[in-house]
Symmetry: C2
Subunit: 459 residues, 2 copies
């Protein structure tokens, strides 16, 4: 990067706010995928005003600019393939206000999600979205890819909690959207447009978030199903009975076997699927009766056994199984590639059958788990990236997974986003008219294409 630009950036963000040594740049060159590319310079702003000045400079000098939280993204959306400026938002991590009466939090976008949750839970409030990365992802990153999580079945995704945003536009102007009102139908829904736009339309610097009252009670059941089909049918039966659990997490037999091998939790190895179901709420009796009704429906639908946690320690033991999936996979193979396809929930059994067929065809294991109530599946291919033949197979297998999702009326991503990795499938997924409309919006808001270029849209 030109010294003259570095000097200008230092003037904006201070000397300690600009990084340009090779070691520093390497740290900001990747996310949670296999993709990697170094930025030319990293800026760590402390205010929206500084972000505005950096973006304005980038526009004037035609330097690509990529905003980034903690690099936990699953689609290479924050990897700066064109170099340029990476804006690392991690120093803008303050909770600016928690409004208890209106149940809102005003935060900077670099705040870690779990820090927000801890901050509001002290006051009896609750921020429900819980991506697996909750302990190390930022609110800004969550908003940029509209992150989900297990609790989204009952509580909705990140976007459902974004009331308003402060966004630095491509020309450096500062846009404020929304407000503390739950209902607001004035003008176009810019808040929704920027949510999930993966840094291509503006840099999110602050967010006004909706909170709810923290549920006081939860009951958790681990349910064993000899038949995967029955497990899937159960998910629909529970929802059809008018019960909306906080979570209905599915693990297939491969996932269960992986966890058990790694952790010896005493999980059954002779079932096709396990569902982890949690009900919650503010009325202890109602939460208990809901889990009892869930138990009854599960048994009617072919479950072999339902184990309801009797106390918090048993509950946390059941959740340990779900949380162990990823670490357990790491023990099974040098590498894994987890996808994020989503299908209409009635199509889950067929999706799983077809994914298993992909695994059998190519001879690499695929472990399936995910958010069954949402139809959101995470098939993880286990492989060794050092073997180029395996890597070629993996790329083909991912393409086939996407084809399965689209063929069943599903979508490429339920919570990770498109980033760089899913671009080749965009036109197939959304059709040329949708892509053209999206490109028009991108061109209208970022005419010189400096904001996260090369992301979302097919080449």
């Amino acid at each position: 990067m030109d010294k003259h630009i570095i000097a200008k950036l230092q003037k904006i963000a201070g000397k300690d706010g600009v990084l340009s040594t090779p070691e520093d740049l390497a740290v900001y060159s990747y996310d949670a995928t296999f993709a990697e590319h170094r930025p030319d310079v990293v800026v760590l702003p402390r205010t929206t005003e500084q972000v505005s000045q950096v973006v304005m400079l980038a526009g004037q000098e035609r330097i690509p600019l990529v905003a980034r939280g903690m690099g936990s993204g699953m689609a290479a959306a924050s990897v700066p393939f064109d170099g340029g400026i990476t804006l690392a938002m991690t120093r803008m991590n303050r909770i600016l206000e928690i409004d208890e009466v209106n149940a809102t939090a005003h935060v900077e976008s670099g705040l870690i999600t779990v820090d927000l949750q801890a901050g509001v839970e002290k006051l009896g409030l609750f921020y429900p979205p819980d991506p697996s990365s909750v302990r190390h992802s930022t609110i800004g990153g969550n908003i940029a890819c509209n992150a989900g999580g297990p609790r989204c079945l009952k509580y909705g995704v990140t976007g459902d909690y974004v009331l308003g945003l402060t966004v630095v536009l491509a020309d450096g102007r500062i846009l404020r959207t929304g407000g503390k009102c739950i209902k607001d139908v004035v003008g176009y829904d810019l808040t929704a447009l920027f949510t999930g736009s993966e840094g291509t339309l503006g840099v999110i610097t602050e967010a006004l978030l909706r909170l709810i009252t923290k549920p006081k009670f939860a009951r958790t059941a681990l349910v064993e199903f000899p038949s995967l089909e029955d497990a899937s049918r159960t998910v629909n039966a529970i929802l059809a009975a008018g019960i909306l659990p906080a979570t209905m997490e599915l693990m297939d037999e491969t996932a269960v076997a992986c966890i058990e091998e790694a952790m010896q939790l005493g999980l059954p190895l002779d079932v096709e699927a396990i569902l982890l179901i949690e009900t919650d709420g503010s009325d202890e009796h109602a939460v208990r009766r809901e889990i009892e009704a869930v138990e009854e429906i599960c048994m009617e639908c072919g479950a072999r056994q339902v184990t309801v946690a009797r106390d918090e320690s048993e509950r946390s033991k059941l959740w340990q199984a779900r949380r162990s999936v990823s670490p357990a996979l790491a023990r099974k193979a040098p590498n894994k590639l987890g996808e994020d396809i989503t299908v209409p929930r009635g199509a889950i059994p067929e999706a799983i059958r077809r994914i298993k067929a992909i695994s059998a065809k190519h001879g690499l294991p695929i472990v399936i788990f995910g958010h069954a109530g949402d139809g959101n599946l995470h098939p993880n291919i286990l492989f060794d990236k050092r073997d180029p033949k395996q890597w070629a197979k993996v790329e083909q297998m991912v393409a086939e997974e996407f084809a399965v999702a689209l063929d069943l009326g599903g979508t490429l991503s339920g919570e990770h986003g498109v980033g760089a990795l899913k671009r080749p499938y965009m036109e197939q997924a959304q059709g040329p008219v949708s892509i053209e409309v999206q490109k028009r919006i991108k061109a209208a808001l970022d005419p010189v294409n400096i904001l996260n270029p090369g992301k979302i849209f097919p080449n």
Copy 2:
């Protein structure tokens, strides 16, 4: 309208699908406001393809085009001030599919909302949004202004149930967004962008809607508050206790007096406010315990009396009061002008105090009712439009109501939209950067400005 154009329109939509006599045009010249302007021709399409051809023709000939449902809008969004073509969507009123497993309905946009509700409720499913116009407004109109209703406190607004749209773009191309997946974060959220865009970005011809399981039980309480402040405090206390009623409707003393005068329901005339609170769900005990908890909180917060309906007939009697507000107002004065301001719910008492001050200052009564849990208030000014002095006052009073909403961190509209009537307040409400961004999006998607021109944006 040029005969040559009429002939082309007849070729597209059939002779019976094109209206152009003065009497016919008069019918399509207004909505639920005082605004009125005749279109030059009305087209009643039967298919998305016909809409596409009409829009293409309008574009080629530079004729303004306004899409319209049943004309129940509250902001003059569908009044064709520039004449041109009005597309009346009422013949596209079919339910195309109800998918019970995935709980979705695919419908044409001219379907009446209550017909959708009846159709899905037969199957035990439920479409929650319930604007007061539910019996005569269309789904397309509901989506175009992102309509709300009493039940939105618990269940969310129209936009929360729109999974996907079929939209005819300004150049006649057909765009399909979304799908049956509950979670979908692929590309920009075009579904959210078109929802609430009031026909300025495209013509909505079909919608894919999310359904839920119909709640089996409901309990309703009418709560009398000597102090309006206490009523408002109660709303927050109930939500803070983790109870989420389906509705919390507020009527101030003026509203109560109007209803009582018209209907003699035995409502108390010596309280400052009444709250109508309903809990619902699929667990009878839980619903009952919730209303009991509500009762307790109300009494703690200063309620004088809580009357819980013991059966369906008592429940419907309590709702009669809420539903009687509008007809009751019609008996009190020749005209009423109802607004739709929304404030953060903690600001409700201050908003009501200031609105009462506006009423006192100008000497015209303002009746206040609305969705207290959402902070969405409907102040209705009672007046006689034949008196030009009163009409001038009313216009000033509305401006002052908007100023109150904005000053308290609120918004111009919670569920009616901007249309033509609130345009003068848009820049004050959203600031120049937001307006400019919205105009860029409008220009990107409708470069020749034929779709509902002159709506939303300030002149």
